[in-house]
Symmetry: C2
Amino acid sequence: MRVTIREVADKAGVSVATVSRVFNSTAPVSSSTRRRVFEAAEVLRYSPNLVARSLITRQTHTLGILLPDLHGEFFSELMRGIDQVANQRGYHLLVSNSHNDRHAVEIATRNMRGRVDGMILMAPDIDGDFLASVVPDHTPIVLVNSWLDLDGRDSLRVDNYRGAYEMVLHLRAHGHTRIALLRGAASNYDARERKRGWRAALLDSGAEWSPELEVAGDFSESAGYAGALQLFALPQPPTAIFCSNDSMAIGALSGLRTLGMRVPDAVAVAGFDDIPIAAYLTPTLASVRVRISELGARACQQLLHAVQHENQHEPISETIKTELIPRQSCGCRRVTADELTSVEQ
Amino acid sequence: MRVTIREVADKAGVSVATVSRVFNSTAPVSSSTRRRVFEAAEVLRYSPNLVARSLITRQTHTLGILLPDLHGEFFSELMRGIDQVANQRGYHLLVSNSHNDRHAVEIATRNMRGRVDGMILMAPDIDGDFLASVVPDHTPIVLVNSWLDLDGRDSLRVDNYRGAYEMVLHLRAHGHTRIALLRGAASNYDARERKRGWRAALLDSGAEWSPELEVAGDFSESAGYAGALQLFALPQPPTAIFCSNDSMAIGALSGLRTLGMRVPDAVAVAGFDDIPIAAYLTPTLASVRVRISELGARACQQLLHAVQHENQHEPISETIKTELIPRQSCGCRRVTADELTSVEQ
DNA sequence: TTGTAAGCGTTATCAG
DNA sequence: CTGATAACGCTTACAA
């Protein structure tokens, strides 16, 4: 950021245009001057100021990533997927978090203006219309796990509904009729979809439902712990607990243990997300596998397509399938070292 | 990025300088023109191009973060801490990963040139001298968990050595004399330091050591699983296993379970990092708590100080203390709901 | 209080 | 193949 193209040009005895050409191979340069330029650049330790370059090329080779939070298993995995394809395609990531706050979303998007070629937006608590409205008109965006499908906007999501539906049906197949739900936050899109799937599966399979089977939570271990205790304070406790994510399931397992309830004999437990350690818990935790990093990778691919073919880009709406992973905690007994290693890859 | 200051100026019937003044409140503007400018900006949906601004102000309000990886519990937590203080101080994060590859480090730092005001560099497999050498001369940097302390460079690290030392001593206090180590990658700084602490504690406490007690690993659950199996194939297995991180400890617990070994009765197990679920495992996992997000926050504070007081900045070298967290797996029996909730906050 | 004009470090256009 | 020179969108003296 200190030494400029000007100085390199002077030292090499050429014009700045030539230096630029050498660095971008944008036009033929004689190999002798090319060498001189490189030498000059070397001793001066020059490398182009990318901000200045962006100003004129109107592209930053940077993608803006706006997530609810930057930490946690989910976002971490999402970032992995995004980063993988961005990296491979030579793009950089400007990240920000919104804490699901509308105002913060507005500020963050504003702050990315002119600094990014496109944005991946995820804010499960905020409607997509608002998201799209705060972003500059010509900036390509991809919505992840959002409320609404906007016409003309790319959007991806996890099939939370079906994942939950299948897991509850699986618990039904184990003979359970009283299947409780440990909910995530009501404002959260994923949590709502998972709840919807749970509810639909109960209905469709003729299982019972009552308000007491639905316990509030917030995706945390401690909420799972408390939820399990609450359920077993009921006059008629459930025989299975479907948790809205694995963290809550882990908390629930812990709570059941202090209660002396054996899993899955006395009560079955299932989670959602299939985080890596699910296969290593006691009992191993039945879950719904979500290829989160794939979600991130696909989102990034979509965005890059939009960025690079701004004119003829057909917006797509894609849903990432989930996979049912039965393990000990739901009543499925199989667990071997083989399974473990196949699971953790 | 489409509508410029020029158009706003025209619409409001003022000069671009005035618009600039309104947006930066850098000089007094009459409230009537101010209003007109804001109105014009509003209908045009204008907001300043930050790249252009950076070019002239020579600051980007962006920090470059180079990590070995972007996913995983550790980096995720580190990012949380970094983001927290960056956010609060109005700075943005340009993130990149190096996969601990020297070449990738070079490219990433080059790509940040001119786009960031300073950088946080973490690459436990790469020596700090190299790291410092690839960064532009006048860019402030903070090194995290690096090999070397560079004179004149800020650097922070976790006290891996002492954390491991104390945990091994704790296992000794439980009466164990044959304490195995599940190692992390040999090239990894943290892994090496933890091993060093283990070794020193064995020596200082007069416990036995033999090569077979040291098992290679890579911080993964599967390595922990395999390591446990390997140790118990020994003619004389250990009575305690100190794992270089919690993921390996979880794998080891799983392995011991398939072997039918009871923890902590037949063998004690301890991890490192104290990830949130450690308190919710069966048995609850003894570990060494590392305030990772604090590490990130401190690093970011240091960097911002350096950025904002470039001239009179005293580089510091700081070590973040760890905390011993005994739980069931080491032989300490206490575990209550109270402890669980106090632990998970 | 406001306008004019000179940059910031590049790339792009147009002549040679 | 190479060199002037005009942008890019903004901030900031310097004048008025």
